[in-house]
């Protein structure tokens, strides 16, 4: 027989109390796990949406002139001198401290070309990057790859009466229409989109780009810092963050996370009080028993050991069951909250933290009762002597 046997025997003997404590802790841990898991899942979902939203940093050539367009309406008669950015300088983006937050870099070259007697805007893009940035694009046919291929915006296709497989001549070069872009409601509808190097050649802007769109992983990245860093490595350019959207989403997420932690802390405090009150009751009930232990030669630390081991076992059990219940609650609640779009992912850190936190809370809440038990004088505890 060892002290552990006494603890296990006592737990079996006082099943009701043990079950009450386990269930109490289980509910507490389950609530915390559910809230944090939901926050995580919804946060992940929001992050994915942010990434799908596209670019959140735009780099354009520096201009001293004020913009004279609003909502796509350009003031007539304004002659803008278009400047470009040296494409070779874009490697500097890789030198910023937050380079790991840069998900996609989409360089673009813009310029007007004449097609079938009409001036049309041509945009050269890095196809792979561009289709990552514009995940909402719906294409009939296939995306452009390399070579003289064109993706045609909806308005241009209608004006020029273009269909898949048609051939266009731009600057005496034949291009094949491989994809038609479904209507986006944006300026993209008025574009002929070609691979970057092809467009640069067609526009006479070899080695130059008109703008760069960057998608940053903005779940927790410092967008303002990244803007400053990019500005430093790309002097002579304007770097702007599409902050409104990012900050709104981040703020909403932050508020939800704050709420979740607030509830979690409250639940933990209630759980600790529950353990404290129950253990105090248990010590009072076991006063005589503790007196016997002390009388037959158990040290104070042996009594501490007995009480804290009991608290640790009950808390660990509550933690494990609470975690499992929390996961089940999360899986049940997620479809109701987010229409099934957010998905739960197993987070081993949360699993371990839930059990460890339950044990720590249980031990801390039991410390005072355990100390009280260990300080019982055997003669006072044993009225028999």
């Amino acid at each position: 027989m060892r002290l552990e046997h006494i603890v296990l025997h006592n737990l079996r003997r006082r099943k009701g109390r043990a079950i009450f404590l386990v269930v109490g802790l289980m509910i507490g841990v389950a609530t915390v796990v559910t809230l944090l898991s939901l926050t995580d899942a919804l946060g992940q979902r929001a992050q994915n949406e942010l990434e799908n939203f596209g670019a959140n940093i735009v780099i354009t050539p520096h201009s001293d002139e004020l913009a004279l367009n609003y909502g796509g309406i350009q003031l007539g008669g304004v002659n803008l001198i278009a400047k470009e950015i040296e494409q070779a300088r874009l490697v500097n983006i890789d030198k910023i401290p937050n380079r790991r937050n840069v998900a996609t870099i989409g360089p673009k070259v813009l310029g007007a070309v004449e097609v079938q007697g009409q001036r049309v805007m041509m945009m050269g893009v890095d196809p792979e990057a561009e289709f990552k940035l514009k995940r909402w694009w719906s294409i009939a046919g296939r995306p452009i790859k390399q070579g003289y291929e064109l993706l045609v915006g909806d308005t241009v296709a209608k004006r020029l009466d273009l269909e898949m497989g048609d051939t266009l001549q731009v600057n005496d070069q034949d291009y094949t229409v491989v994809g038609l872009l479904a209507k986006t409601g944006s300026q993209d509808d008025q574009l002929l989109i070609a691979p970057l190097s092809i467009a640069q050649a067609a526009l006479g802007k070899q080695g130059q780009v008109s703008m760069v769109e960057i998608a940053a992983l903005c779940h927790d990245c410092p967008v303002d810092d990244m803007v400053n860093q990019l500005q430093q490595v790309l002097p002579g350019t304007e770097v702007q963050a599409v902050q409104q959207v990012v900050k709104t989403r981040m703020h909403a997420l932050g508020q939800f996370r704050l709420f979740a932690w607030g509830v979690a802390v409250t639940v933990v405090i209630i759980g600790a009080l529950l353990v404290f009150v129950t253990m105090m009751g248990a010590i009072s009930e076991r006063t005589r028993e503790i007196g016997i232990f002390r009388a037959i030669g158990y040290r104070r630390r042996h009594i501490l050991h007995l009480v804290l081991m009991e608290a640790a076992i009950v808390s660990a059990l509550g933690g494990v069951l609470g975690y499992l219940t929390g996961v089940a609650a999360t899986l049940t609640a997620l479809p109701l909250l987010d229409g099934g779009k957010a998905s739960w992912q197993w987070n081993p850190t949360l699993a371990v933290a839930a059990v460890v936190a339950a044990v720590i809370v249980g031990l801390l809440a039991s410390l005072q009762p355990a100390l009280r038990a260990s300080r019982l004088e055997p003669s006072e505890a044993l009225r028999a002597l």
Binding site: R12, R13, R288, E289, R299, A384, L385
Partner: protein
């Protein structure tokens, strides 16, 4: 050779403005192998004397030496070790832990020792055989009779082979037949050289003791070991 020396032991209990003197300048020496009976009316100080001897309640003044160790000069945790190694307690109401069977109850003092589980079982089993309960080892206290519970308590008090056995009214709640069985067992232990101090108010038990002291109002009123049975107050 004296195993126990109480030197001018006084014990006061303070309860608010009241001060109860439970023991007054008690001096007592008990030889090894003695079966000492402590008798007296309720409130005479019997249980306090046993508590003081059992290293459970420190005296207000005076010293208690057992086996030449000033037990109240020891730090708290060492006092616990002393109780475990030197003393065996038999309580009035058995004081068995309700969720431990007879074997586990007897092993209880060994739970904090470094012995192997097998050795603990062996010693507890031997002790239960010695008190005549070899076939009741796996029974819980509520499955045992009062006499059997007392035997388990005696086995538990002896499992560490303590030099001194302290018993507080061990037959107080038993019928006469069972009381006799328990006293016979204690007497056998005494015959084997065990030092026993037993508090009782039952005069029928006098025949078992080889020395008896009578307490009254915290004083030793009479000591059978004193010459001509004279009063030995404050020796």
């Amino acid at each position: 050779m004296s195993l126990i020396h109480l030197n001018q032991v006084t014990k006061h209990y303070v309860n608010g403005a009241d001060c109860v003197i439970a023991l007054k300048d008690v001096a007592l020496a008990v030889d090894e192998g003695t079966f000492l009976g402590v008798m007296g009316a309720s409130g005479s100080g019997k249980s306090t004397l046993l508590s003081v001897l059992g290293c459970l309640t420190g005296p207000t003044s005076g010293t208690v030496n057992i086996d030449d160790i000033d037990v109240y000069g020891l730090p708290q945790e060492k006092q616990a070790d002393f109780r475990r190694e030197y003393l065996g307690f038999i309580f009035q109401s058995h004081n068995l832990i309700p969720y431990l069977n007879a074997l586990e109850s007897v092993m209880l003092p060994l739970a904090v020792s470094n012995l192997s589980t097998a050795e603990k079982r062996q010693r507890a089993g031997d002790m239960l055989e010695r008190v005549g309960l070899p076939d009741r080892m796996l029974h819980l206290p509520q499955q045992l009779s009062g006499g059997e519970q007392e035997r388990v308590a005696i086995a538990r008090s002896l499992v560490n082979n303590p030099p001194l056995l302290l018993a507080d009214e061990p037959t107080g709640s038993l019928d006469s037949t069972t009381s006799r069985q328990v006293m016979t067992l204690l007497s056998e232990l005494h015959q084997g050289g065990q030092t026993i101090i037993m508090v009782t108010h039952n005069r029928d038990n006098l025949e078992w003791f080889d020395r008896t002291i009578y307490l009254r109002d915290g004083l030793i009123e009479k000591d059978s070991a004193a010459v001509n049975g004279s009063f030995s107050q404050a020796v």
